[in-house]
Every structure is written in structure tokens, then in C-alpha cells.
Symmetry: C4
């Protein structure tokens, strides 16, 4: 199974670098993928800026977000987000936690993230907001304890994105391509909303329209993935 594991690590590294290159991640934020054969494990990089992640930086974790094999490298302090959500959501196989500047205004001002274009339907009909303050009082706003992660996962519920007050967002997907697509197009739809809202009220999709639009054919995700890979290769070569 070594080669399949290698392939997963390489895909995860590519996803890290795509999300950095497309402006979702910067020095911080992280992406994980659930083990395809052992749902009680997931892959995540060691503590490293996503743009720098290669296959060799990817480690295996259990659902308590502990590394499966002892290691001496620094780990992401917020890795419990991943374990907590994989525990609560068997349908989720890929997770990204980020602080994109497109999303942050929704975490600071009284704004509701909605769907305003066809591809934005990946956001879904409902975007819950989690405020660490509600349950945990004054904190440093890092999600580092199991109970904090459980609280976040509970707030996410069956949604695809949970916003985090004064912090960022956590996005989930059925697989890595859906996750990357959702991260990038939720940021793009958020940007479009912000651009429009500067001039007054804006129009948005109805729940029925979101449901119809969100059934993206595989060709759509493939076209976008190939485009992002190509842009990344141009940059890296």
C-alpha cells in the first residue's frame, strides 16, 4: 500500500500549494485528507506554511489528532479541528482550516455568507457561525483542545462550511477535489458579495436554486482542478 500512501501524500501537498497559490491560505491554515482505507486516521502536514508542503512533510494522525508514529517535528497546534470533525462527520473525507481575507469580513461584521453565483452554490444553503467566546469565554482564539474541536464540529452540523468569529473558516468536502473547489469558490463568491454589498442590497440564490446548482458534473471539478494545477506548475517551474 506504500505507493497509494505516497500518492495521497502527493495529492495533499498539491492541494496545500494550490490553496496557497489561489489566495486561500498564507503562512497559516492547513488541509487534511482522511485515510481511504482506515476512517480512523487522517493525513496532515507537519507545522509548515502550506505553500512549502511536499509529500515528505505529510504525517498520519489518529482521530484524537495524535501522530500515529512518534515524531519530533513541530505540529499544527490547531490540528484537533481535523480529528474533531472526522469523528463527527463520517461523510467528510477532506478538511481545510483557513483565514482567507475574502471570508474574514463575514467573521467580523454583521454579514451573512450566501450564494450569489452558480459556482458559489458549493457554499450550501446554510453557513453556521461559531464563536469560541460563547462556550469558552476569553481565549487566545486558537482551537487546541478536544472540547473546543467538538464544539466547532457540533456547530458545523451537516453544513459544508463553518465560519469562526474573529478567526476564519473551516471547510469540509467528500473528497480533496471537492474541498479545494469549495474553498476557492466560496472565497470567490464571498468576494463578489462584498463587492456588490458596497453599493447596497444584493440579490442571491434561493434554496431551491442552490440545490439545483450544487450538483456539479465531474467535468466542472476536473476543469477547475486542471486549471489550478497548471497555474501552480507555471509558478513552480
Amino acid at each position: 500500500m506504500a505507493s497509494e500512501s505516497e500518492s495521497i501524500r502527493a495529492s495533499l501537498a498539491t492541494a496545500n500549494r494550490i490553496l496557497a497559490h489561489e489566495g486561500v491560505l498564507d503562512a497559516f491554515g492547513h488541509v487534511s485528507i482522511r485515510h481511504p482505507h482506515d476512517p480512523a486516521r487522517f493525513f496532515l502536514a507537519r507545522s509548515l506554511a502550506p505553500e512549502l508542503v511536499t509529500a515528505d512533510d505529510v504525517l498520519e494522525f489518529d482521530l484524537n489528532s495524535q501522530p500515529v508514529e512518534p515524531c519530533s517535528v513541530a505540529l499544527y497546534s490547531e490540528r484537533v479541528i481535523h480529528g474533531g470533525i472526522y469523528q463527527a462527520r463520517p461523510d467528510v473525507n477532506a478538511i481545510c482550516h483557513h483565514h482567507a481575507s475574502s471570508i474574514l469580513p463575514f467573521c467580523l461584521a454583521a454579514l451573512e455568507l450566501r450564494v450569489v453565483t452558480q459556482l458559489g452554490a458549493t457554499i450550501g444553503t446554510r453557513v453556521p457561525m461559531w464563536d469560541q467566546r460563547d462556550e469558552f469565554g476569553a481565549t487566545n482564539h486558537l482551537v487546541v483542545r478536544a472540547d473546543e474541536a467538538t464544539s466547532l464540529a457540533k456547530c458545523l452540523g451537516n453544513a459544508s462550511i463553518v465560519l469562526m468569529k474573529r478567526h476564519g473558516a473551516t471547510v469540509v468536502g467528500a473528497d480533496l477535489r471537492e474541498l479545494v473547489f469549495r474553498c476557492i469558490y466560496s472565497c470567490r463568491d464571498a468576494d463578489l458579495q462584498l463587492r456588490g454589498l458596497a453599493y447596497g442590497a444584493i440579490d442571491s440564490f434561493t434554496d431551491k436554486e442552490i440545490e439545483l446548482a450544487a450538483k456539479f458534473p465531474d467535468a466542472t471539478l476536473t476543469r477547475a482542478w486542471n486549471y489550478w494545477c497548471s497555474r501552480l506548475q507555471s509558478k513552480e517551474s
Copy 2:
């Protein structure tokens, strides 16, 4: 005629990559050109991000937007936009459908796209707005059926640009250079309007001034085209 066909495909590929590089297109959107000798046919790429389109990716379609030769590659689901407009507008020889972030605020907020600078006169005196909801109720907001394309073409009428509510824009031109110019400078004029409107009411051209300004000499289009080609070459080399 093989070499002329090759030249058309190459020009269309260049237009795709220029419009991607100048920020009109991203992973989605598409550009077509009518066959110079057979007005019942047009050229359009297979389903592919515009930045990646080469001459070899360009296929020939009839005005029902069906490929002239059987093919097994994925096609743009919204290609009916092109066939529908070529049917309705004999004077149109090039079409671009896009979702540029400069234009989207006009498709979301209660804003009117006008002409505010000399080059922006390419927009024309009237920019109709098409809302798929009006005639087709709740949809996924993709234009994939012949009657949807006919409706869009009817709304376009004799204008140069039709905005699409919660979706994007479709732009037409007498030839490929005019189309590319119109796409880029309508986006630029839209951006300038948005920048100005953030500070209150803005000034704009009168219909008479638009008429006078829109007669661009060939040198203007050539200067711009050479500039975009040069920028593209710098990027690709």
C-alpha cells in the same frame, strides 16, 4: 482552406489566453468566432479553462451548438449561448461569455453599467439585463437549453453586451479583436464606475458622446491588441 482554419484556431486560442491573462476569464467562461466562409458554423474550444486553450483544442460547431464532427471530449455545457446569438445576430462574428469580478457587482446590486471614459464607449448606449428566473423560474442558472439561449439572445437585441442576473455577461463583436477590446475595456470601465460610486454619484457620457467616442480607429484596436499579445508572450516565455 486548411491553413486559414489553422490560423483562425490559433487566433481564437490567443484570444482565450489574452482574456484569461487580463482577468476577464478564469477557470470558466468561453470565447467563439464565427466561420469566415460559412456563417452557419462557429469555432469554440472543448471544455477547458481558457488559459489552457491551444489551437488543437478548438472544435467546429453548427448553429445548434452541436459539434460538426463527432467527438468524445467534454464540451462546454453553456455552448448554446454561442449558437443562439449567432442565429439571431448576423452582424456578430465573435462572442465571449464570462463572469469577470468587475462586472458581477452589476449583476448583483442595483447598479447600471454606463460609459464613463472614452474607451468605455465600446459598451454602447444600452446594456440590457437578462434574468433567467423571469422566464424559466428556479434553475441552476446555467444556460444549457436552446430556448434559454433564444431568450438570452432576444434580451441582448442589438446591444453589444447583455448582463445576466446572478451570473455574468455575454459580449459580442463584429470580429475577434473588437470582441477582446470590448471585453477588456467594458471590465475596466465597470471597475472605474465601481471605484467612483463608492464616493457618491458619478458623471458619465451622454448618448451623443458615446456615439462619437465609439468610432475607434483601427490604430487604437491594433495598439491594444499588440500590447495584450506582448504581455501574454512575456508571461508564457
Copy 3:
């Protein structure tokens, strides 16, 4: 004198490319320099996007904005701006006409371009606004006739920048380095004003402070010029 002329043409080409690279010019706009020994002549490129201008593209013009030697290449249609201002302002030895997106909001909305930072003092205490409509009624908004240029020069008066309603700006300098500095830092100060004005009233310099701040030492202009040259070289190499 051939080698001095070569040197002037090279400097002018560099200024064109710096102003394009720093976002003041795009496919359009142009820069000129007065002949150092014959004040009745000036240098300006043939019609070409500024980013593409090389020394070989630079031609010599008289103050009627006619080429000194017959030529068959396309010329900038708005070159009369340069001749008109060189006639009216003996102290001016370099001119740039541009449509930078930092400045355009001031040409569209009811905004006054002021000085808000030390380097912005290059703008001066007064920025007149010229509206082609006032004297010439409905036009295509291109300045192509001698009387239009004379009107613009009259509006400029002894200022350093004249804004042009629904059009752009024309900037003058005692020499090429001052001109480039003024173009770039007026755009930057304009951008800062726009950023601030989005949140209410902003502070600005008094006339006395502008006078004190505008006496830039040569080291300031040299530091900036070397920086822009270095950035241009990085991009072009």
C-alpha cells in the same frame, strides 16, 4: 549630438516602461520630454503601448505636435496635449498624459485631489479640473485639436497636474525624473485618499505644509528612480 539624442530617447523609453510597470499607464497614455537644446521641439514615441516603447520608437516633434521628419508610422492622436503645454509653460520639460485607475475616481465623482502624505506634496496646492464639455460641447473626449490643447493648457495654468473630467490626467515636470516621481506619488496619494475616504472625512496637508514638504532633496528622487529602474530590470530580465 547624436549620442546625447540617443541618451534622451533611451531615458524616455525607460520612463515609459517604468510608468507602465508601476501602474500609471496601460495600453494607452504617453510621455514626452522637451529637447534640451531646442525648446521648440520635444520627443515622444510613435503610437505604441508605453510598456513596449524602446529608444528606436521615439520621434522628434515641433510645438505644433507635428513630426520634424516625415514619417509613415501611426502617431498618438492626442499628441497635441504635449505641444500645447510646452508652448504655454516654458518651465515644463516633461509631460505625461494618463488614465490611471487611482486618479479616475477623482475625474468621475465629486472628489478633490489633495495632499495627504509627505511625498504626495508633489501634487501641489491646487489641482485644476478641465471638462472638455464646457468649451467644446459633445465630443469623443479625445484631445486632438490645437484649440482643445490650448484650452487644457490654460486650465492647467501654473499647476503641476490637471485632471480631465471623464478622461484622466496630464502631469508636468521640470525634468523627466520629477515627472515620473510626480506621476507615481500622485497616484499613490490618490489611492491613500480613496482608501481613507471610504470611512469618512480625512485629514490633509495645509498649503504651508505642502510648500515645506515639496522641496524634495535630490537623494529622494534618486532613491525612488533607482528603485523603479531596478524593479523594471527584474521584470524585463
Copy 4:
């Protein structure tokens, strides 16, 4: 000690270029570091755009901001800012003076720079505002005299950042990495505030939360520093 001195100069040059590459500095602004063994001396580049600074451009100054060894190169006119603050703040070992466009709106409009995200806690609980006008009347807004620097240092007090009305900001750190981190993440938090404030009131951290969040583990600063170094290397190679 020659090799340690070389290492400091190289680090300072890297910090200059990182801050330029990340958009904190442009042609202007400067960064210094206190001598590790002689607190009465500091290192600062000769007058040069930060993006161009190499180890060879770094000079040694005393706390009157005079070069320790006679030199004939041009010096930053505002270097007294550094000497003035090193005199007043023994805990400070690195200083940056900048005019970043993220910060300037706070120096122009009636806005208060606060902490809105975890990493933004580097800003601290209080950001004083210094207005050169208050004590010195009409000036060119350059800080070039000892008494002006003393006044600025007094206003800074024990804070980490002092805003300068109509001018920019001066940022201090316990070491060079903390300084670079503080410069970049204060700009980023400022940007996020501006983005959010465009849509009404925004949320922010309490003093207690700032205190908890500001204790960044070394891994956080290292991850960010390595990321910025890597981005700089990509650009420079």
C-alpha cells in the same frame, strides 16, 4: 567578531527585502537592529530602497543616529527615529518605520487600529497616535530632528506600534523576527479591519484576549519567517 557582524548585516538586509516583498515597504521606509553587544549602537542601511538593500549597504550608528565611521554615502534623513527610540526603550532591539497602504487610512481617517484576529494580537492593546503638528506646528512631516524623535518615542511609550498622523507608522520588536512578524501581521489585521468596516461596525478582541493571544510560540514565528524567506528566494532566483 567580524563574522557575527556580517551575520547581523545579512539578517537586516533579508528583513528589508522581506518587508518590501510583503508590501510593508516600497521605495521608502527603513529597518534597524540594535547591536547585540553594544546597546549604544545600531545597524541601518545607507539611503536606499529597502528592496535593494544588501549586507554591504548596512552601516553602524550611535544613539544620536550618527554613523560610527565617517562615510560619504547618502543616509536616511529620518534615521533619528531609530536612535530616539533605542534611547527611550532598552527592551527594543529592532525598529521599522514604514508607510504601508494598509496602515495609512488609520493615519488619515478617524479610525482606531484594533486587534481583530489571533495573529493580529501582535498589535497590542493600545496603539498611540502621534501628530507632528501638535508640538512642532507646520512642518514637512519628516522626522529629522532629535527633539522630534524624542517626542515620537515619548508618544510610543511602552506600546509596540505608534501611528503617525498623515505619515505612517513606527513599529518596534524585541528582536528582528518579532519585528518583521509584527509589521506584516499588523498590516494584515489593519487590512481585515478596513475590509470589515466598509460594511458597518466590526467585532474585536478584548484586552484579556489580546494578552492571551499575543504569547506566540516560537514555532509560529519560525513558520512565518521561513515562509517569507522562501517567497523572497523564489522571487530573487
